[in-house]
Symmetry: C2
Subunit: 137 residues, 2 copies
């Protein structure tokens, strides 16, 4: 799975029901390609903050901006790609083996992530040098 590249990062249109009384977006079953085991969300992020700075060995994730906006810099060891997330019905599927950094948080931004497994520190690659050697770059 560490052979993944930024081409493997996919956009997911989250199904939604639009209504004058507000919009309802739903994640279940086939709308993401794995069974959800964990949901986590970042909030109260200062606009100058930098988050992320790691990759995963096997975890798959879908990241969604539920409120506000932020930029995610994806890096496969060879190429980088920046995506601005600012729509609650747009999910980004992040495969394992992709380094990610999150920057440029707007006031009130909320970043939700739905993950394929529960927390496992062993799954994290936290040193960029280790990431580079695993990606053979």
């Amino acid at each position: 799975m560490l052979e993944t590249t930024i081409e493997d990062i996919k956009d997911i249109q989250i199904p939604k029901v639009e209504d004058l009384r507000g919009n309802l977006a739903i994640v279940e079953g086939d709308s993401i390609p794995f069974e959800m085991k964990r949901v986590y969300y970042l909030y109260d992020v200062p606009s100058s903050a930098y988050r992320g700075g790691h990759a995963h060995r096997s975890l798959e994730q879908v990241m969604i901006a539920l409120s506000g906006s932020f930029d995610v810099i994806f890096d496969d060891g060879k190429q980088k790609k920046t995506i601005t997330l600012n729509k609650p019905d747009r999910g980004i599927l992040i495969p394992p083996g992709i380094w990610r950094e999150m920057v440029n948080f707007s006031s009130g931004a909320v970043c939700m992530v739905i993950a394929s497994e529960v927390y496992d520190e062993e799954d994290y690659i936290r040193a960029y040098s280790e990431f580079q050697s695993l990606k053979n770059t």
Copy 2:
């Protein structure tokens, strides 16, 4: 399960990691009393809107205000209770057999719900008169 009362509505403290770079709240494993099958979220809700107005036959849910605030009026057929949700680390466990209405949305409010089952229209009680007769009130 339709013998539930508003006393069965429980507060859940969502585990979080506080950091100067923002707060991270995590829902997984034992932090909620069921396996998550569906995540949905309401956003772009006009401040005058009224949402909800239904109960479930067997679905369990945890509701969280991920951004902004709103009020939830819970009703077990005999008693009502209003809870203001405005903290991303506070979840409300809603058992089956509880009528709920959501009102008084702040600008930018996001209401996330984690549910124990995928969508099933048969599980909804959408008429208050049917709810009352099921609750023997």
